[in-house]
């Protein structure tokens, strides 16, 4: 038995390490100041895919990502760890997409990829935290979804068994293929890059990247076709432009606010004994604690 697996992955700004220069003076986000990373839970998802490939040799993993040209990095990170193929979905028409327009575009790309048994992705991306794209892609494809997955336990007779991590417990569910599975951060961490694969795929590039490259490199792409990363536009996946990007997004941003806290007049204390003791005495005397 072998399976066709698609990993949905996203390149995200590293919102967990936001420095002081991450916000511009006007309160908008300074994306340039944020490093772009592989969305953490998408790595957990990719590990589940790689694990299936280990268990069922001959399985094929395609990483699909939507984003600007530099998001091709995500596809290389996949190849370095053992995925087989990568598709970058990139087009100005996708800009400004909310989760629904994103899901539509991804589902059209999945249809173009064609054969698949399992789609895995992270539970949510750290730049939006919505957890919506997985279920919405599943709905657009008309197949079931399993969210908050922690481990793919087994695949047998066309059915997959998955352990889910709930708020106060676990649930094991069984579902026929094909299915969309979103993977929780509590799942196994992704394996590191493989040194051999790193060497093999170091120069894997999309057509746009190749065009920007030094001419000397060009002929290696005809002799080593596996270095060609697929790049698709809105027309390539035959998507309806009206349903993509800003125009395909039912939700609109009315305004963005820089948050101003209601500042209080704080009492400033040092870590000297006398300050701490005075504070504790005050809290105990006022029955705030104790």
């Amino acid at each position: 038995m072998a399976f066709n697996i698609i990993v949905l992955a996203k390149q995200v700004p590293d919102t967990r390490n936001v420095g002081k220069d991450a916000m511009k003076a006007d309160g908008t986000v300074n994306r340039a100041a944020l490093p772009a990373i592989f969305n953490p839970e998408d790595l957990n998802a990719m590990e589940q895919a790689l694990d299936i490939k280990d268990r069922f040799p001959g399985s094929k993993i395609t990483v699909l990502t939507m984003g600007p040209g530099r998001a091709a990095e995500i596809l290389r990170e996949g190849l370095f760890r053992g995925t087989d193929d990568g598709v970058l979905l990139t087009d100005r028409a996708f800009a400004g997409a909310d989760t629904l327009a994103t899901s539509y575009a991804l589902s059209m790309a999945v249809r173009k990829i064609g054969k698949f048994d399992i789609i895995v992705s992270g539970r949510q991306a750290i730049d939006g935290d919505t957890a919506q794209v997985g279920p919405q892609v599943a709905e657009k494809l008309g197949i079931p979804q399993i969210t908050y997955a922690e481990n793919i336990e087994k695949i047998e007779n066309g059915k997959i068994t998955v352990k889910r991590r709930l708020a106060n417990g676990v649930e094991v569910v069984e579902c026929p293929l094909p299915v969309v599975i979103t993977v929780n951060g509590s799942a196994r961490a992704c394996r590191p890059r493989n040194a051999k694969l790193l060497l093999k795929y170091k120069h894997a590039k999309t057509i746009t990247e190749r065009q920007a490259e030094n001419i000397d490199y060009i002929d290696i792409y005809s002799s080593r076709p596996y270095l060609n990363l697929t790049e698709w536009s809105v027309d390539d996946v035959e998507a309806d432009k009206e349903q993509c990007g800003l125009s395909g997004s039912p939700t609109k941003v009315k305004k963005i606010e820089n948050v101003v806290f209601q500042a209080k007049e704080s009492r400033q204390l040092t870590d000297d004994d006398v300050d701490i003791e005075e504070l504790m005495k005050e809290l105990i005397d006022s029955h705030t604690i104790g």
Partner: protein
């Protein structure tokens, strides 16, 4: 409504309270939907009507408990097509975050996750020359909590939003309020194919962590530095009879388990005392604790943003401060 073993979840009651006030502003009805087993719905009416529910839609079928995605999607989408509600609110729980996007995709309506505030207001689209009356402003921190976004959904209905537990206040409207109950025929909404996913095993434990209702919370951030240093917080919490909370950065760093996370994507709390240890104070954290009566910030960075909303700011290392607090408290409390 989210129901576990016959009990309606707090988050659902909080949303009924919010929904009741929004319905008042819009001069429309507040309707609630419950889809579960016969046993789970036995005591539903007495639990929800006091919150001012005008119409309660019931879907009784033993296959609807525990929750699975597809039948509940069919029920909501089918009912929404029939009833055309303006707004749909759901708890941002594991169920709500599984169901909400699926329904929104099926109906092509927008959904905003983890809102911290919901308001009614107008919107003028200057480009299109259109004015929208009485839209739902879905307000939420975005971008890792560095900004606050006001999201609207001008053209598609229902306007869908999810809200975390504890964000809205739960308040009984009238203990004797009685709305109308409408029992629907499940088979009119749900296909047999919707039951393809089967639950073969399920272990639910009562959560051991009760941060939400704890009067004192000792909370730690990335500045605590390590899992080992978090032990200091547990010791202080232990002597004060408090619970330990954490910021997202501390959870992401693996210092502490996710169920202790305070903030927009965790738990919203309003304790008597909130002791923030090594927490810088990203918006998404502050959104979840700013209503604490007294905030004490212990931080070695005097310019940590959280200090601006703190009543007491202790500038120093937690390794020095916390043991002193414990020592003084042990000596001087009864």
């Amino acid at each position: 409504m989210e129901i576990e073993e016959g009990i309606v979840a707090d988050v659902s009651l909080e949303l009924l309270t919010k929904g009741h006030s929004l319905a008042g502003q819009l001069d429309c009805k507040l309707e609630a939907i419950a889809a579960a087993s016969v046993a789970d719905l036995e005591k539903i009416e007495e639990q929800v009507f006091p919150y001012g529910v005008d119409v309660l839609h019931l879907f009784k079928d033993d296959r609807l408990s525990p929750y699975t995605t597809l039948p509940h999607t069919s029920i909501l989408a089918g009912l929404f097509r029939k009833e055309q509600p303006q707004i749909c609110l759901m708890g941002a729980t594991i169920i709500g975050r599984d169901l909400g996007p699926r329904v929104s995709s099926l109906l092509g309506s927008g959904l905003t996750a983890d809102c911290t505030s919901l308001e009614i207001g107008d919107h003028e689209d200057r480009k299109a020359g259109k004015t929208y009356k009485n839209l739902l402003y879905q307000i939420r921190p975005a971008f890792g909590g560095n900004i606050v976004a006001w999201i609207i959904n001008p053209d598609c209905r229902p306007q869908m939003a999810t809200v975390r537990e504890g964000v809205m206040k739960k308040e009984i409207f009238d203990p004797y309020y009685k709305g109308e109950t409408v029992e629907h025929n499940v088979a009119d909404f749900v296909k047999e194919d919707d039951f393809v996913v089967s639950i073969i095993d399920r272990h639910i434990e009562k959560s051991k962590v009760n941060i939400k209702n704890s009067p004192i919370i000792v909370s730690g951030g990335y500045g605590v530095g390590s899992k080992e240093n978090f032990q200091l917080l547990y010791q202080l919490a232990d002597v004060l009879g408090a619970e330990v909370g954490a910021s997202r950065a501390a959870v992401d760093a693996g210092f502490v388990e996710h169920e202790r996370q305070v903030g927009q994507t965790g738990i919203t709390v309003h304790p008597k005392v909130y002791i923030a240890c090594g927490i810088s104070g990203q918006i998404q954290h502050i959104a979840g604790m700013q209503d604490s009566s007294i905030i004490i910030s212990i931080n070695n960075d005097p310019s940590a943003p959280i200090n601006s909303i703190a009543d007491y700011v202790i500038t120093g290392e937690i390794e020095r401060v916390i043991p002193k607090m414990i020592k003084y408290y042990k000596k001087n409390s009864k």
